[in-house]
Amino acid sequence: MLTIDAEAYRSPWRTVHPAVKGVLFGGLLVCALALPAWPGAALAGAVALAFGLGPARVPPRKLLRTGLGPLAFIATGAAALLVSVGGPDGPIAWDPQGAARAAELTGRASAAVVCQLLFAFTTPLADLLPRLSRAGLPPALVEVVALIYRMLFVALDTARRVGAAQAGRLGYANRRNRVRSLGALGAALFVRSYDRAARLQRGLECRGYTGALTVLVDDIPLRASALAAAAVPAVLVAAAALTLGAWT
């Protein structure tokens, strides 16, 4: 199972309208990107974490584990700013401003990643996707996206089991075997995905499918006051960062 997905369904904030969570974490994300990195991004990240680990009860270890991938990218990318190439000091030299730029970039991007992760950790896609058609996307596209979401778990399950069976017959024992096994896994997955589509077509026809996959989407009340309240943290962070910035 996918950690973020499983946690999102368990989240105590699941019942909150996705738009409210979008405004809260999206607002803080904008703060992290648009305000001066210090103290703006730091404040935005800290406030997002306070909401995420506090009332939204996102498990900190899982948050950290899923954040490691993007953080590794950020670290590698920022490291490239430490040096300068082709300058007067030789082909590769320390960039005197590099450390400051790298630190700024790391802080900004890390805060942004935290905001994105917390939105994902509290918002199950099953609640989010059907609402996309109300946001103006073509219904056929929204239905395909929802189908992909459902079918990817079936396909992931297949991939895991086929992979385990291959490993049992030493399919991943060395690099040569691995290339062959991964290729066989990809091919099996493709064939099975198409078989899956044909079977689902047959199954849905029996349920009256003629082309549209319309379903009842539960109404989660969206109150303007809740939306406004969700914007408050971002506004406060912006105000605080700008005032602090003016003092220093």
């Binding site: 401003q97 990643v113 994902a120 996206v145 991939a159």
Partner: protein, 213 residues
Amino acid sequence: MHIAEGFLPPAQAAAWTAAAAPFVVHGVHSLTRAVRADPEAKLLLGASGAFCFVLSALKIPSVTGSSSHPTGVGLGAVLFRPPVMAALGTVTLLFQALLLAHGGLTTLGANVFSMAVVGPWVGYAAYRSVRALASRLPEQTSLGAGVFAAAFAASLSTYTVTSLQLALAFPDAAGGVAGAFVKFATVFSITQIPLSVVEGLVTVVIVRLLSTV
């Protein structure tokens, strides 16, 4: 190689989104047209999208251990054609951002441009040209060469575009955009070039098996 959330300045993130938009809109258009013509297409597209996502989540073995990698861009371009890949690739990248924290939402446009637009088109072009050049060779050899070229070129062009995107965002103090491009391309080449080769080989195995079924 997914650009993480918040890594690009807002103006550049917006610019890349604008650059990717026409391709994605065109892809969505051809997708909705296909669905309208045939209700079965909806389920096939669902399965194809799921396949793309799972393929991209497979861990490709490499010298530096497993790494997140846009696996399947070239294969997808050959199997589904670039316009459809623009749409399916965008959905895949959205799910990767939300379900795996690979790539971000504000950087979605930039990642779509490299992995769902440039990668598929370059891969598809490589496939067509190699197939044309190798048309005299036996079918299996020509197919293998074409598919390897597609996967390798798609993977490599994706990585090149990403490095360029980063260079434009963070030009080098002395070397400018060109210098920064050299820096980023070097830093990520350690993982990306061997991965592209392995991905090419894996893709050849996949297509060989599929062509015998």
